[in-house]
């Protein structure tokens, strides 16, 4: 889960970069960039989850 979360962060960023290059229309570019940002947020959520401390390791 940690690796997936960490990979989703740059994946979302690449979507944002693709939006800049591929879409000249401001509305479409904004929507695509927001979608890329949403992927990053999901990746961040997964990375946070993967760092929760297992119950047996809690003192």
């Amino acid at each position: 889960m940690k690796a997936v979360g960490l990979l989703m962060l740059p994946a979302g960023w690449l979507l944002v970069l693709a939006a800049i290059v591929l879409f000249p229309s401001p509305a479409l570019r904004g929507a695509f960039a927001l979608a890329g940002f949403a992927v990053e947020v999901l990746g961040l959520g997964l990375t946070f989850r993967s760092h929760l401390i297992p119950r047996e390791e809690k003192s």
Partner: protein, 448 residues
């Protein structure tokens, strides 16, 4: 291309403001000391000093060569017919830095202080368990790689700054006082360090409780806030002059906005904690204060005072809840609150510039190019430029700093031994406590 020459007045104003910046570092260092345990107080201050020193030297040796300055040589990729300037092409050791009255030495000086400030931010998160040599190692990477690369994209005419010129996205990514380059980069490094180190022993118990481990000196923390204010006024003013082309006279507006944002944020945090817990919480109020300063950094030169007040209030609310959420729900043990204050506060400040920013004057973002367009931030598409900058921080800077520190941790363990943590960082790493005349109480130790 030669750097544009400043007038004597602008140079003098810049130097004055830059010399205030170390106060911000002193303030953050004092806050980190006060929010940590007494048995690690000396270690924290020593770590702050070492971080400043390592950051300055790493930036001198490598960092500035990769950061560069506006209008100086850089490497660029050509993508869809547009130039994407991604890294500077300066020689190492400041060898192309000429003290000829140009703005470049001023930029180098401000950056040297700024990178030290960014390096101090993660120390609060790693308090009570991060080894001194590991701190120096991590700081060297921050000052030589992470910070210069991102700062080049934002402050040295890099591809984020070029978004306005190349693609008509607002005025390109804007950040007058370092909300992204200093604060969010430092805050995300703090998050990476906290993940790698894990929580302090005894912080999370098997029954699901997360007992508070209070800071040992609230006077240090609150005094640190006032010192930080002085430094932030210098940082925001110098950054606005050097990186957005603001006139020295705009320092009055910048100072007012900085003060108002901090005040609104601190009072909001105090009010929320008073309503929720019955009494205002000193550490959360001080975190709110610094969070307000952080949130003001990006947009300090482009706001009206009333807007600064709104931005500060939202920052105070976001930071107060974020600290609790990170600690209790996401199990991120961040004794200094650095992640919430610097990463969350900074990201909010960057996005707020896209929403509230007003551009009455041309903005210097890329040499020779001033992007005309709508005065209002939202109408001009500035929100998108800011969103792209934030996406770059989360999608590039966070994985980079996490992976680099994770690899370094494999070769040299970042976390102190169990015995060292029990003994305290002062005795274990420095051989002497910060307060040798004090009695140590048993409740300062985690259960054995």
């Amino acid at each position: 291309m030669a750097s544009p020459k400043f007038t004597e007045l602008t140079t003098l104003a810049c130097i004055f403001f830059i010399f205030l910046v170390p106060f911000a570092a002193a303030g953050l260092a004092l806050m980190n000391v006060g929010l940590g345990r007494s048995r690690s107080a000396g270690h924290m201050m020593m770590a702050s000093l070492c971080a400043l020193a390592v950051a300055a030297i790493s930036f001198f040796v490598i960092g500035f060569a990769w950061q560069g300055a506006i209008g100086e040589p850089a490497y660029a990729l050509i993508l869809s017919g547009k130039s994407w300037n991604w890294i500077a092409a300066q020689p190492f050791f400041f060898r192309r830095l000429f003290f000829d009255g140009s703005e470049m030495p001023l930029t180098a000086l401000l950056q040297m202080f700024s990178v030290g400030l960014a390096a101090i931010i993660p120390l609060g998160s790693g308090a009570d368990r991060w080894r001194l040599r590991a701190i120096c190692l991590s700081t060297a990477i921050l000052a030589a790689l992470t910070y210069p690369l991102f700062a080049h994209w934002v402050w040295s005419g890099g591809w984020l700054a070029q978004l306005g010129v190349n693609y008509g996205i607002g005025r390109g990514f804007l950040d007058a006082g370092g909300a992204s380059t200093i604060q969010v980069v430092g805050g995300l490094t703090a998050l990476a360090i906290t993940w790698i180190l894990g929580p302090r022993r005894g912080k999370y118990s098997a029954d699901g409780m997360a007992p508070a481990i209070p800071g040992h000196n609230s006077v240090f923390v609150l005094f640190g806030c006032i010192l930080a204010l002085v430094g932030w006024i210098g940082l925001n003013s110098a950054g606005a002059i050097l990186f957005t082309g603001a006139a020295p006279s705009s320092a009055a507006l910048i100072g007012i906005n900085t003060m108002l944002a901090a005040s609104a944020s601190a009072l909001t945090a105090a009010f929320i904690t008073k309503v929720r817990f019955g009494k205002p919480d000193a550490s959360l109020t001080s975190n709110g204060w610094v969070g307000g300063l952080v949130a003001s950094s990006a947009s300090c030169a482009f706001l009206s005072p009333a807007e600064a007040l709104v931005i500060g209030s939202i920052a105070g609310t976001a930071i107060t809840f974020s600290i609790e959420w990170l600690e209790l729900r996401l199990e991120v043990d961040d004794p200094g609150g650095a992640i919430s204050v610097h990463a969350v506060g900074g990201i909010w400040g960057l996005l707020a510039l896209g929403m509230f920013g007003e551009f009455q004057r041309p903005v210097l973002n890329v040499a020779g190019d001033n992007v005309a367009g709508s005065i209002n931030g939202i109408a001009s598409g500035q929100w998108l430029a800011q969103l792209i900058g934030v996406a770059t921080l989360l999608g590039f800077v966070l994985p980079l700093t996490y992976m680099v520190n994770l690899i370094l941790n494999r070769f040299y363990a970042y976390r102190v031994s169990v015995e060292g943590e029990r003994q305290g960082m002062d005795l274990h790493e420095l051989g002497a406590g910060a307060y040798p005349e004090f009695m140590t109480h048993t409740d300062e130790f985690f259960p054995r």
